[in-house]
Symmetry: D2
Subunit: 351 residues, 4 copies
Amino acid sequence: MSSKIDVAVLGATGSVGQRYIELLDGHPQFRLRELFGSDRSAGKRYADAADWRISASPPEEAANTVIKHHEQPVESPIVFCSLPGGLAREVETRLAAEGHYVFSNARDNRLDPDIPLLIPEVNPEHAAAVRVQQQARGWSGFVVTNPNCSTIHFVLALKPIFDAFGVEQLMVTTMQASSGAGYPGVPSLDLIDNVVPYIGGEEEKMEIESRKLLGGFDGQEFQYADMRVSAQCNRVPVRHGHMEAINVQLRQPASPSEVVDVLRAFKGRPQELGLYSAPANPVIVRDQPDRPQPALDRDVAGGMASIVGRVRECPLFGIKFIVLGHNTIRGAAGASILNAELLLADGYINA
Amino acid sequence: MSSKIDVAVLGATGSVGQRYIELLDGHPQFRLRELFGSDRSAGKRYADAADWRISASPPEEAANTVIKHHEQPVESPIVFCSLPGGLAREVETRLAAEGHYVFSNARDNRLDPDIPLLIPEVNPEHAAAVRVQQQARGWSGFVVTNPNCSTIHFVLALKPIFDAFGVEQLMVTTMQASSGAGYPGVPSLDLIDNVVPYIGGEEEKMEIESRKLLGGFDGQEFQYADMRVSAQCNRVPVRHGHMEAINVQLRQPASPSEVVDVLRAFKGRPQELGLYSAPANPVIVRDQPDRPQPALDRDVAGGMASIVGRVRECPLFGIKFIVLGHNTIRGAAGASILNAELLLADGYINA
Amino acid sequence: MSSKIDVAVLGATGSVGQRYIELLDGHPQFRLRELFGSDRSAGKRYADAADWRISASPPEEAANTVIKHHEQPVESPIVFCSLPGGLAREVETRLAAEGHYVFSNARDNRLDPDIPLLIPEVNPEHAAAVRVQQQARGWSGFVVTNPNCSTIHFVLALKPIFDAFGVEQLMVTTMQASSGAGYPGVPSLDLIDNVVPYIGGEEEKMEIESRKLLGGFDGQEFQYADMRVSAQCNRVPVRHGHMEAINVQLRQPASPSEVVDVLRAFKGRPQELGLYSAPANPVIVRDQPDRPQPALDRDVAGGMASIVGRVRECPLFGIKFIVLGHNTIRGAAGASILNAELLLADGYINA
Amino acid sequence: MSSKIDVAVLGATGSVGQRYIELLDGHPQFRLRELFGSDRSAGKRYADAADWRISASPPEEAANTVIKHHEQPVESPIVFCSLPGGLAREVETRLAAEGHYVFSNARDNRLDPDIPLLIPEVNPEHAAAVRVQQQARGWSGFVVTNPNCSTIHFVLALKPIFDAFGVEQLMVTTMQASSGAGYPGVPSLDLIDNVVPYIGGEEEKMEIESRKLLGGFDGQEFQYADMRVSAQCNRVPVRHGHMEAINVQLRQPASPSEVVDVLRAFKGRPQELGLYSAPANPVIVRDQPDRPQPALDRDVAGGMASIVGRVRECPLFGIKFIVLGHNTIRGAAGASILNAELLLADGYINA
């Protein structure tokens, strides 16, 4: 027990904050020590302040933790941050300057030229940018970000295809779950017998973040992948699990079965390292013609894998398929925790 | 009253059959005289046989009509047919041979080389193929078909774009309503908190039917449009109204506002002729960033228009947008009735 | 046109405000002249300020009306009020004092000893209490209230039963629609694959309001009906239409078919007077074993009737049945407008 | 491993059959050896025949088991049966006559005078009726049934109240999940934006089964409890988890907090015996005013407990509350398995 590293969660009462707490419960390397919240919740027991919406009740220990105010000092070396966009940048950079290792789910710092936007199976070598960051900014800590909840799943599924065949261009149309907007989030009148064809800023994030993730890092700078992406984002009446319909044009044409083969064979650095939160296979392929489906497949592999189905020929781009992923697990808190596991395993964290 | 033409509905108890009955109620040119059904319903009052699901109860007169068996002779000159695919071909061709004017929502005859697949605003000149049909087959009647419920809305919205700028290629990802599968149709366990990424045969229909609709007719044969289409079809928890996310590459590039202009200016032959079921504008464009939405927009213009929104630039294809349409009104029964109005107005029906 | 009476709507942008505007469009006696809103919307065109959620778009004329601020003077003689509870009392009494005829959907004044809580088919004689009100408070105008959206439908259906057989006690368990909570209202995460067994204050309202409605008025005071009521209220994933399961113990026992007979025969004063918004039959009884259902029956009679089904024996109380009603039409704005029609017809309004 | 008892599942591909298979996976006393199905599925691998709907995929071993035909001989001593009502009686009695220990979820035999209708926490002493059964019918095996999915949860929650205070009469209005009707079950058009106020036969089952369960057994015959029950059953858009609103009149009045105390203190024979599938507490009480909710609470205690909330005063009956339970776990397959564990522990099974 004594060898676990203390961690703090910022934005602990929100949807993603709740997932951090759920996933950190029983974690072998991290000990959840501090929870931070806003004026509304600071000073209260977590169980009283949080409107826990992901299961019956929060883990016992977290439930009894008194929430600190976001302006109070953070004592834990590792900080998981799910502050709202706009608020996160200042807090995260301040904490990194103070020596904290910040793993952020917020959008604010994702595209900074010295801050890694990281998926451990996709671009683990980008982690080294924290050294550039520390040197340039004089920080002893660092900030590492994970992508948007709809970006992460199609990029994770795309990675082995990208490496094997190259990707020229890609269309993606999403059908995203309610929990992606947090709680209270989307009003029920918008999602009973309805679809909302708009999620502010989401399409832009998917189009640019995917290119940073699949691009290179030369030890100093990130090179964005030379790949064109167009996204259309929709909200559908589903609790959890983003579905994404993909059309992809490969540089070197491949058949659907060749694509399935590389998806199934795919293992990344987390699988090599045997990281605690890593799924055995980051991409799982369904053979049934009508899968994946959110209600049936989102919790597979603890919500940490991307589930692919209907890999078939596209008359325009060569290949089309469906990908599903859990938006608040691998799409947010789980992504961030896996990042922390990677940076710990690869020696970037002194603790 | 005496000047109305008698019409029969085949497959009268199904979802589309119900819409025929609703839309024919009070029609100024057609009088609903006969309803036909299967063993299960023949001989019963319509109100007793049909599990009416589109409103509180069927129109009074239809409610009291006794359903005839599909094998009984049809007396009405005009026949609206919503028989299941597979069954329709034989029945429809037999009725046309007997001199009936058959307007079919079934898939069986849509791609026949002498049978029009017709949207009055899109390809009214294809109607003339009924003369080829009558001559070649020795029929005094004819068969005219309307497209699949997901094809019709994107093609209706595409028509003015196709005419103004030309279309090279098009991607479409659908989010389709439950009623598209009829009743009982999709089980509720598949559509509570879920999306099903598969609708058998639907993608193929959208890819080929759209090319026949936007193609030419030289007086003898149909020419399929030289346009490539790729479709991905999904079922979402919505009662009525198919949403479709479109990416389109024009032959002659145009800005989103130029596209909006041609959509808004669009009028077709039904508008010219002032046909009873024709919407004032076949395409309506929403300015709000989060529209159209099924729950709010599907009933606009009596469900006979296609509602477009979010016309914007696509980094790959130039233009992307959303289209919504009512799948059992303009997507099925309403399409078929408008076809009958066109053929009547253009002199193909002697009655 | 000149003979119409000007009306104002307070709280015009909310769910109920939107229904007022929809229902007043084309009203033969009332002309919608003024719309009032809060800081957020005052000064804007209605179409820009209101997040219109009940159909595609607001009526043309209302759309272009500029919203006044709640503190600006009201010029119209008749005021329809859907301000939030807590805020309404002060505003409504001030307006009545100034001479306005206030018809309120808010809860604040419903139980006042000189303010009618009115359903025109149920207790039209309570309207006379406005004279007591005017005298006691020195007002030239008055305040008339309508009941809570879940109270109104079971009381409307209960009225003929109450008159014919007497009611000793009644249990009611509701399954209420999302729109009852307004917009944004209930978060979608609470109503996808879920039921919320709690609506703050609702049970208490149903238990007490029903007794005022079915009680007497002796010219000076209201007598609450000697009837015991117990309510349990639940929110279910439905857009519009409250369902209520009722068990009722009659003073003079009656069979289900006797109950159906009195329900079907029921006509009230609005039907006698032929009021514009009055349904032909305030209670409609379904014979099918699985009806009424919100999706099929809520819009019957323009949403102004209560739809009853499954009238059958209750082993404990004698009779049980289901009632459904549209919660924002007859359950709110429509109720209020019908009240205004009654008070106008019965000579309480000088205009 | 060798000490486990072989079990067979009849009706293995249905909703309840699937739950049997899920719950038997890894069971310490029972080994799932045989799966039986109809013409449609017999001879196929389970994974190919079953449309598995309760998670991503069936357990590995079951997935590869070839389904036998219902008319083939059963070899396992214990048989779990989820055949449709009507079909079950003949099969179950034949198997019991052949010496099998049949645990049935079907309705057919529940009210037989020598067949136990059993909830281990409620009426474990009824198990002894299998001796009467064996003697009277000359069977070496037996049939034990569990109640209907909506009966079981309110009776489980009622048991400690019944014992502590006595129950005079009880009203229950249900809001039941889609999975209670199996798959395909309820059409999605009936449960998108809708409630169906009717479930055939359900109310009658709740009213009579509850009285057998809470009644006595004198060694020869069952005595039905002297308690009056009235049920109203509704289907709501929820995947799993039946909600039930209860009003109960006690013989000896008690306050809500006294009721909560007996609910929380409740332990039954399965808890005493430490049966494998027994929840630590058969009834769990929520303090929050808006709980339990199906999406949040149905999986608590592995779906084997009844979750109670909102225990409060009822102006008519004294006490009212909400109970939620998982309808295919404790409401069906889990109930049946717990019954088998009880009969095994209490020495009724020789194996």
